[in-house]
């Protein structure tokens, strides 16, 4: 957790950061009426997220197979296991709202 600032009930700025990359802040936000969204926009947005429309974040790890095994053991759902693509070695995981993320592997230095 990086910052948890509250402006009152349901009004929150919450960010997390990977311990090894503390300058990267990821903001977490519920898709609810009020902050950012009107009621009908929030409903549409939730549907779109649930349908897997959004997948805009890319993470990298040192070892994709090991990370895949670990995250799977921790209950993370993958929509694509580690796969060699022409552009690189990649897996895709999904969060519990429907957002999906690419997980790649850092190039190893020989």
């Amino acid at each position: 957790m990086h910052t948890d600032a509250s402006m009152g009930p349901g009004k929150r700025w919450l960010t997390v950061t990977p311990p090894e990359q503390p300058d990267l802040e990821i903001a977490l936000m519920a898709i609810d009426e009020g902050m950012m969204f009107k009621k009908d926009t929030a409903e549409k947005m939730r549907e779109l997220v649930k349908a897997g429309t959004f997948g805009y974040a890319v993470f990298e790890c040192n070892d994709l197979v090991a990370t895949y095994e670990e995250l799977t053991a921790r209950g993370v759902k993958f929509k694509k296991p580690p796969t060699k693509e022409f552009y690189g070695f990649e897996a895709l995981f999904v969060d519990d709202s429907g957002n999906w993320f690419s997980l790649g592997e850092k190039k190893k230095e020989d």
Binding site: T3, M7, W13, N62, D63, E69, A73, R74
Partner: protein, 138 residues
């Protein structure tokens, strides 16, 4: 370059890491973990390092320090934190903590408590202006 290890070896390495993640506060015998994973100690260390970029011992220390930071952020005392995360003496804890975070545990404790008070007193200082404006907070 080394060939990547087979999938069952990966699973054992991952299990060893998850074991450290769960039992970091205990007196972990890393040699025993290698034994349980039925590797030779050196083979185990080498594979672990290949996957995680750190030896099991370095990784255990890292987990303990990160957990210590979380407890200090909650406001717990330095000596309580030291033993709660598995270190056996405050001086070695302080030394390692400083090496990783560039400040002593007590300085970190003070800094985090101060930051919490500031966030509570003036949250807008910590929220990006565009986001605050969009929500009508400023």
């Amino acid at each position: 370059m080394d060939q990547p290890p087979k999938i069952y070896l990966y699973r054992r390495i991952v299990l060893a890491k998850l074991f450290i993640d769960e039992h970091y506060a205990e007196d972990i015998d890393l040699d025993a973990i290698a034994g349980e994973a039925s590797f030779s100690k050196f083979h185990f260390i080498r594979l672990f390092k290949m996957a995680y970029g750190k030896t099991p011992h370095q990784y255990l220390t890292r987990v303990r320090i990160e957990q210590a930071k979380l407890l200090l952020e909650k406001g717990e005392s330095v000596s309580d934190v030291c033993f709660a995360v598995g270190f056996d003496g405050v001086s070695s804890f302080t030394h390692l903590f400083k090496r990783f975070t560039k400040m002593t545990p007590s300085a970190y404790l003070r800094q985090q408590q101060q930051r919490k008070e500031e966030i509570a007193a003036a949250p807008l200082k910590f929220i990006p202006g565009c986001f605050a404006a969009q929500n009508g907070w400023i």
